[in-house]
Symmetry: C2
Subunit: 269 residues, 2 copies
């Protein structure tokens, strides 16, 4: 095999690790790929760690021991996350986003790949230690950000549906009270979608009273799955009747006053 | 500013370019970031081009001229794409995926981030020259692969809904004939989601008779948007009644015979 220079190895390593977030690669795998010694690869990884740190590109996490290796975890520093969300809040406060009934037009933002990718990185960064086995969302608007969170964590996304579908096989259906509207809705999940004993991170777009989120938590208890966290793109402020607790929302929307929107990044950031 | 070594620049460049696919970066931007001369950065880019090519990591595309720069385009070589899809077909042919009514259980595959990312890369690779302004899908199952296609192309995703929602603002609704079931369905899209004169790539999960895809094409003509291509994760074989043409599907599903599934990568690959 042709000898590969350090420059080339570093560029390729950087691409390979960052393309598969949170996936543990053994050093041997890279040794085989590049035809290099373990000690050489160790030095490469050290250099990459420094570079990623210096340029705020995420974190390279080295796991020691027999089943050890190196993995790339996307993460965003606090300052960068707040700046990103502040800019987004400013954009979301433009008056023409306020719809009749006090609703906020968010759909464009929620399906821009680069924006939801960054949201996914921020959310994932809060939950690596909880080691969820999958991310759960309820169709439709939360799917992109939930998918990107799942990608950052290297786990599958699971999508709950509004009704059971012929192409989902046998399903578990639950009824829940939609918090804001107060009426009964149905939520459905294919029986084969998750396994008993797994750990779940719930990600959705908007939190008001929390009826849908509570529905997802109830649905997971039907599957004997533990919910290790709940995260939202946006939550309304001051919701005394909220039926869930301990959630992490990226942005907080104050009650619109005089037709003026007031949206800001959450305090925990 | 501290002098940054080539090793470090290459690792950081590799990460930055691959994190924002199809986005054109000017050399000056990198010169500022790394405090290096244009000639130095040009050499860096040349090295990266070679490395990406050698390891099959995608393509670095250099655009010359005043508005020029360099962009990263994810792509997968033919052999790699076929191998990836062949493995997927094998997995999809397991008998317990065949559901009552001849439906195929695909939902798990369609929301695994790494799998839909690769599908998105393959689809995007077919349409870079068509330069779509956005990717359109119809909720729900096609959203993840459509999002990843949009990410690879560096454009927004637009999601058509089954009915208009209060949080989408004023919307255009059309009726269409669901090809397989033969009944009338509704499709809705927020008026502000797309602009007249834009170019659209349609991406969805499953193509049978093509009623839904035809609906999306009709919807786009209501917005005076040109559809530059249609792509699907899976299409059924031998559908003489299909109402759309020229589609690219990644996998073809033959009529199940004797309860046995027969799925293979498409011929155009």
């Amino acid at each position: 095999m042709e000898r590969i220079k350090r420059n080339d190895r570093l560029a390729a390593l950087s691409k390979l690790l960052s393309a598969s977030p949170n996936k543990l690669f053994t050093l041997s795998r890279f040794c085989d790929l590049f035809g290099a010694a373990k000690s050489t690869l160790s030095e490469d990884i050290d250099i990459l760690c420094d570079v990623y740190k210096r340029f705020g590109l995420g974190k390279l996490d080295t796991v020691t021991g027999a089943s050890g290796g190196v993995r790339y975890r996307p993460c965003m520093e606090r300052g960068e996350a707040v700046a990103f969300l502040q800019e987004l809040c400013k954009e979301l406060e433009t008056p023409n986003r306020l719809l009749p009934g006090g609703f906020l037009y968010l759909s464009d933002i929620l399906s821009m790949p680069d924006i939801v990718r960054q949201m996914g990185v921020i959310i994932a960064g809060q939950f690596y230690d909880e080691a969820p086995d999958f991310v759960l969302t309820m169709e439709t608007k939360g799917i992109p950000v939930a998918l990107m969170t799942a990608q950052s964590m290297g786990v599958p996304l699971v999508i709950a549906r509004r009704s059971s579908k012929v192409y989902e096989g046998s399903a578990v259906n639950i009824n829940y009270v939609s918090g804001s509207a107060g009426h009964i809705e149905t939520m459905s999940l294919s029986r084969r979608a998750v396994k008993e004993g797994q750990r779940c991170l719930i990600v959705d777009d908007f939190l008001k009273a929390g009826g849908t989120a509570k529905g997802m938590i109830d649905l997971m208890s039907e599957f004997n799955v533990e919910v290790v966290g709940t995260a939202f793109v946006m939550a309304t402020a001051h919701n005394a009747n909220r039926v869930i607790h301990g959630e992490k929302a990226l942005m907080i929307m104050e009650e619109p006053a005089g037709g003026k929107l007031n949206i800001h990044p959450a305090d925990w950031l």
